[in-house]
């Protein structure tokens, strides 16, 4: 049964921009391919969350198992392209990916066997012992799930299905028992803003590893979202409550969409959340269930199909405007943080204004922003020997390459560091040796090593013996 065409027709394939006609200032280096991708296996979901950001959320004809010739081809091409482009990691999402796990499994297994690491975004309502065994088989270690409230009735109302709370609770418990790392995402609307701390307490009792609180982005195709969307004042309350969760419950916290930096108007906000920036079209992109390549899961702009000639690489290069200043609103032009912030979430600006160049609704345009005290350095000890993590993966780039450990732990490095890391993969080295290979003074190499240590790219292995440090 092939029922995907009505959804596809809503997407517009955007041709490669003509540089001569559209001069754009590149503010982000073009990688040969994304470092990570989100892969939406299916549009189907057994929930109808009020905050759902999927662009097809209003579509009424969503089959549970849209596995026809078209989908099989899209799956196969997506896997081919992810492997061919040496993408390091794929987050498997949907819709609800567990709804099509059986059909997708051969493709996921092929990814895993090719060295692409996988994690899952799932509501866990369909999670079972058998699912756990299957996910382990394809190397999945980490799961991101959703919980909207510790109050079952409220949670189910926001999820759009009675029984969701009970099912998610069971799923989280089972996933933890089965050894998965589980992060909970609590998406905030006016309906659950006052439930953050209680929900975090509940999540902690369930044993979750990370508690993420994210403001509901105004979804594309949502119609009037004003009754649910939180105000700027409520957004501040949300961030404060999230910090309280960290301080009082000791939970690891995160927020999954980077706020406009001008919104972070206190030292604490800037210090806690100011390091995040959107990497859509720069280091990551989304592959849809239909093979469409989009900058992120919240955006509905397709830049090509994985099934087409050129596949993922062509679509990735077509996404050039996401790496330039094209989508930065004029109002942000004179902001000192503009290259990092780029005006906040572009998909949300698009949903609000109809333009990717629109103003993010949470931007304040404040010029009087606090200066972050930043993240402390790792505390490198120069007398130690160091070794690169044996799990590192490598991808050459025009400037050198990417050395990758996990979706949040990777670096772009130059040729010298890239080949040094490759050549000493299983051997320890001193900072002096690193400095020599990088043609750098010891101070610079120490700084480099501190950064690598902070991201666990290297680890200390032992004390240098006399005479080894020179």
């Amino acid at each position: 049964m092939e029922r995907l065409e009505p959804l596809r027709s809503s997407l517009e394939i955007i041709p490669a921009p003509d540089v001569a006609l559209a001069p754009e200032k590149e503010i982000f280096r073009t990688l040969s391919a994304p470092v990570t991708v989100q892969w939406e296996l299916t549009p189907w979901c057994n929930e109808k969350c009020v905050h759902c950001y999927n662009y097809w959320r209003k579509s009424s004809d969503i089959p549970k198992n849209p596995i026809g010739e078209h989908t099989t081809k899209a799956y196969s091409s997506a896997v081919d392209e992810i492997i061919r482009n040496r993408v390091f990691h794929a987050t498997i999402t949907g819709g609800e990916p567990l709804g099509v796990l059986k059909n997708a499994l051969p493709h996921l297994r092929r990814l895993s066997e090719s060295g692409v690491s996988l994690d899952f975004n799932t509501n866990l309502t369909m999670f079972s012992k058998e699912t756990a065994d299957t996910l382990r088989l394809i190397g999945v270690r980490s799961i991101l799930t959703s919980l909207m409230a510790a109050d079952p009735e409220l949670n189910d109302r926001l999820a759009g299905r009675r029984g969701t709370f009970e099912d998610v609770t069971r799923g989280i418990k089972l996933a933890k028992q089965e050894g998965f790392r589980v992060s909970v995402s609590m998406v905030i609307t006016k309906g659950n803003l006052d439930q953050i701390f209680k929900t975090a307490e509940y999540a902690k009792r369930l044993g979750v590893d990370t508690f993420c609180v994210t403001k509901a982005s105004i979804p594309i195709n949502a119609g009037d979202f004003s009754q649910l969307s939180i105000s700027k004042t409520e957004f501040r309350t949300m961030l404060s409550e999230l910090i309280r969760v960290k301080d009082e419950l000791g939970l690891e916290i995160d927020t999954l969409v980077a706020p406009p930096l001008c919104f972070l108007d206190t030292d604490l906000f800037m210090k806690t959340f100011g390091h995040k920036s959107c990497s859509a079209g720069r280091a990551t992109c989304t592959i849809g269930f239909d093979g469409a390549v989009r900058p992120c899961s919240q955006a509905d702009q397709s830049y090509g199909l994985v099934m087409d000639q050129g596949g993922l690489n062509k679509a990735w290069l077509n996404m050039k405007s996401w790496r330039t200043d094209k989508f930065i609103p004029e109002e942000c032009d004179d902001c000192r943080l503009v290259n990092m912030c780029r005006g906040g979430c572009r998909a949300e600006a698009y949903a609000m204004s109809g333009s990717l160049e629109g103003v993010n609704p949470y931007a304040t345009f404040s010029k009087d922003l606090p200066r972050s005290t930043g993240i402390p350095m790792a505390g490198l000890k120069s007398e130690l020997q160091y070794q690169f993590d044996s799990r590192l993966r490598f991808r050459p780039e025009e400037f050198g390459g990417i050395i990758y450990l996990s979706p949040t732990k990777w670096f772009a490095v130059d040729h010298a560091l890239y080949y040094f890391a490759l050549s000493v993969r299983n051997q320890s080295f001193s900072i002096s040796e690193l400095a020599s290979k990088l043609d750098s003074e010891l101070e610079g190499a120490t700084r480099t090593a501190e950064l690598l240590l902070q991201k666990n790219i290297i680890e200390g292995k032992g004390v240098i013996k006399d005479g080894e440090s020179n």
Binding site: N339, I375, G400
Partner: protein
């Protein structure tokens, strides 16, 4: 790859993914090595106007004397 500020290497080997902004190129300096974005260690940006307190405390700020 530019990675020199005031004649000193800044985290040599690490490549900033963001291109240097116009302001960062004043005086022939390139501050792109000051910013690691996705691998960010200080929340710095590459405009030489680091948001870390007083400029990055690890990296000399090329626009300040």
């Amino acid at each position: 790859m530019e990675r020199v500020i005031d004649g000193k290497s800044v985290a040599p080997g690490i490549v900033a993914l963001s291109a240097p902004s116009e302001s960062s190129q004043q005086g022939g300096l390139t501050a792109s090595a000051n910013c690691y974005e996705d691998g960010c260690f200080h929340g710095c940006i590459d405009s030489c106007d680091c948001i870390a307190d007083g400029g990055c405390d690890r990296v000399p700020d090329p626009l300040k004397p």
